[in-house]
Amino acid sequence: MIFIFIAGSKSEEVKISLNKEGKREELMVIFAGRGNDVIDINLAFIHEAPATQGRIIVRGVLRDQSSAKIKGLIRINKGARESEGFLEQRTLLVGERSKVENLPYLEIENHDVKASHAVTVGAVNQEQMFYLRSRGLSEKEALALLIEGFLGQAVAGERGNQVGSKLEEVKAYALG
């Protein structure tokens, strides 16, 4: 499992080749932007060998007028039969002028595979917000809790170690 944490403006490019039969790889990208941050993420998994498995999860929060462009490619070459690829990109827009562009690409050249992707973009769930505020939390506290939940979900079970502390840094940046 590969983790990438992004707090603030950054250009990140990752290209992973699944070139050995049966090879498995998972990539997790957590990002946060605020102010005028511009985040550019370009990810590619290339399945070159049979029975390879790839999984990419991207989660991020954008505040103020920060923006992100997220490109994710799953490519399964002709010879990579019985392979599986999955990509998920989820962005929470918190800032009034925050924006995000998603480009989830699939290029599939073999029929004996499974490949899929999913993208969601939206603001904080208003019902959850209402619930938390009805329990006495301030708007800021409620928002912090929801952001923490959104980012933390992706790396559940990684608390207390190095990954956990990196996650804390991104969360702190998002809430700071």
């Binding site: 480009l103 699939l106 599939i108 899929s116 993208v119």
Partner: protein, 461 residues
């Protein structure tokens, strides 16, 4: 006029044209087209302006391979007969027989709201039921529309798809010929689908029909367009522009089943302007052609506008279907749904391509995209290329796509019930496309199912 009486049920009619512009594209050819059509000055100007834009613009840097198109190798205008037939009986026999071969339902045509059949570059047959005329519905060829309703045409022509939109919109604007002009007055509901059939005939013949649909407030229309074409040895070019204006509270559904022969470049721009609480639905089936690049668009310009795009593509050997859709959310509380399904087999390639944008201020908007691809063999290819741009936070945007093969369990089950592998695959594919077929008028649903079965039957024998 009499058509050639020697037509056999082969694929190509003997060419018998009254007027054929010289081969290739030049201001002379554009001048000729405008002259033959005896057009007003503004349209002539628009054509010339578009030609200059076409010459300046480069081919798109993305999408299918268009490098082998030689624009000077086509005829840009041919008129098959020098007047429009008023009754079915007046349509030249050869042409009538061609439509019979294509399965245009002549016996059913009284049931249809009107039949416009485009053979070569001009609409040669048109009928409109009397009650529709009484309701004030206008359904004419684009040329007739320009003559009889110059104000409406001038007001909307080129406003939804400007000539500078892309290279092929510019090409069409410069040399357009034929197509339909439809006007639905406020509050009028056209109960039966309006239908138009297009087909290419002469070798090297480009076809550039231009369609404009204006649906006034609270009106309803279902427009159906189908294409089939005979096979020729050299490449052919089809580049249409369709503009639809859907005003407040109106609803327009535009259905296309594209089945050009497998040497046709099909490069089409279709776009709708959608007003307050209005609904635009594109149902777009692409089965034929060598290369298709087509992304029906809905520009949701006023509060509560809704766009729906249903895309079905089928790619076999030598085919590349680069299709999908485009939606711009430019107002609050707008919503859109894109559903795309593709089937790749025999070395064919499908590329789903879409552009979805939510503008700042389009609060409360919802957009959902669902994209499913089926690959039937190891030689075929399937791509998914969406762009999802969200510039407003108070929205709900979701996109999902999957690529898979026909399930072994499904096949095993069907075969255990006594079906051959071919029959079983065909049945699974039919189930896969059913959500789209269900939205088609009956005769189209039948035709589409038959087409898919015929295509599938080829390999599985």
């Amino acid at each position: 006029m009499e058509g050639p009486g020697t037509y056999r049920f082969g694929f190509s009619d003997p060419e018998d044209y009254v007027f054929k512009a010289e081969k290739g594209l030049s201001s002379r050819v554009v001048e000729q087209i405008s002259h033959v059509k005896d057009e007003p000055g503004w349209m002539r100007e628009l054509r010339f302006r578009a030609l200059r834009i076409f010459e300046r613009k480069s081919l798109p840097a993305w999408g299918a391979d268009l490098s082998r198109i030689n624009f000077n190798d086509f005829y840009y205008y041919i008129r098959p007969s020098d007047r429009q037939a008023r009754r079915w009986e007046d349509v030249p026999k050869a042409i009538r027989q061609t439509y019979e071969k294509l399965g245009v339902p002549q016996a059913e045509r009284k049931l249809l709201a009107g039949v416009k059949a485009q053979y070569e570059s001009e609409v040669i047959y048109g009928s409109l039921r009397r009650e529709l005329s009484k309701q004030g519905v206008i359904f004419l060829s684009m040329e007739e529309g320009l003559v009889k309703h110059p104000d409406i045409v001038k007001r909307y022509f080129g406003t939804v798809v400007p000539p500078a939109d892309n290279k092929f919109a510019a090409l069409n604007s410069a040399v357009w010929s034929g197509g339909s002009f439809v006007y639905i007055p406020p509050g009028v509901h056209v109960q039966l689908p309006l239908q138009a059939y297009f087909r290419i005939n002469a070798e090297h013949m480009g076809q550039f029909e231009r369609t404009l649909i204006v649906a006034e407030e609270g009106s309803f229309l279902h427009y159906v367009e189908g294409c089939t074409a005979p096979t020729y040895s050299s490449d052919s070019l089809h580049s249409a522009v369709v503009e639809v204006v859907v005003k407040k509270g109106a609803r327009v559904r535009y259905t296309t089943i594209q089945n050009w022969s497998k040497n046709v470049y099909n490069l089409v721009t279709k776009r709708a302007w959608v007003g307050e609480d209005a609904v635009m639905e594109w149902i777009d089936g692409n089965i034929g052609s060598k290369v298709t690049m087509k992304y029906p668009s809905a520009h949701l310009m006023e509060k509560g506008a809704r766009g729906e795009i249903l895309s079905l593509t089928y790619a076999d050997f030598g085919q590349h279907q680069d299709a999908g859709g485009k939606v711009i959310h430019a107002a609050p509380y707008t919503s859109s749904v894109i559903t795309a399904k593709s089937i790749s087999r025999g070395g064919g390639r499908n590329s789903y391509r879409s552009f979805l944008e939510i503008n700042p201020g389009a609060v409360g908007s919802r957009a959902h995209v669902r994209c499913e691809a089926l690959i039937l063999d190891s030689r075929s290819r399937s791509d998914t290329y969406p762009t999802i741009r969200v510039n407003e936070k108070q929205v709900n945007v979701g996109h999902e796509a999957t690529v898979s093969r026909v399930g072994e369990e499904q096949l095993f089950y069907l075969r255990s019930r006594g079906l051959t592998e071919g029959e079983a695959t065909s049945m699974v594919v039919n189930g896969f496309i059913e959500p789209i077929v269900r939205k088609l008028p009956l005769e189209y649903a039948v035709e589409l199912n038959r087409l898919i079965e015929m295509e599938m039957g080829g390999s599985v024998g």
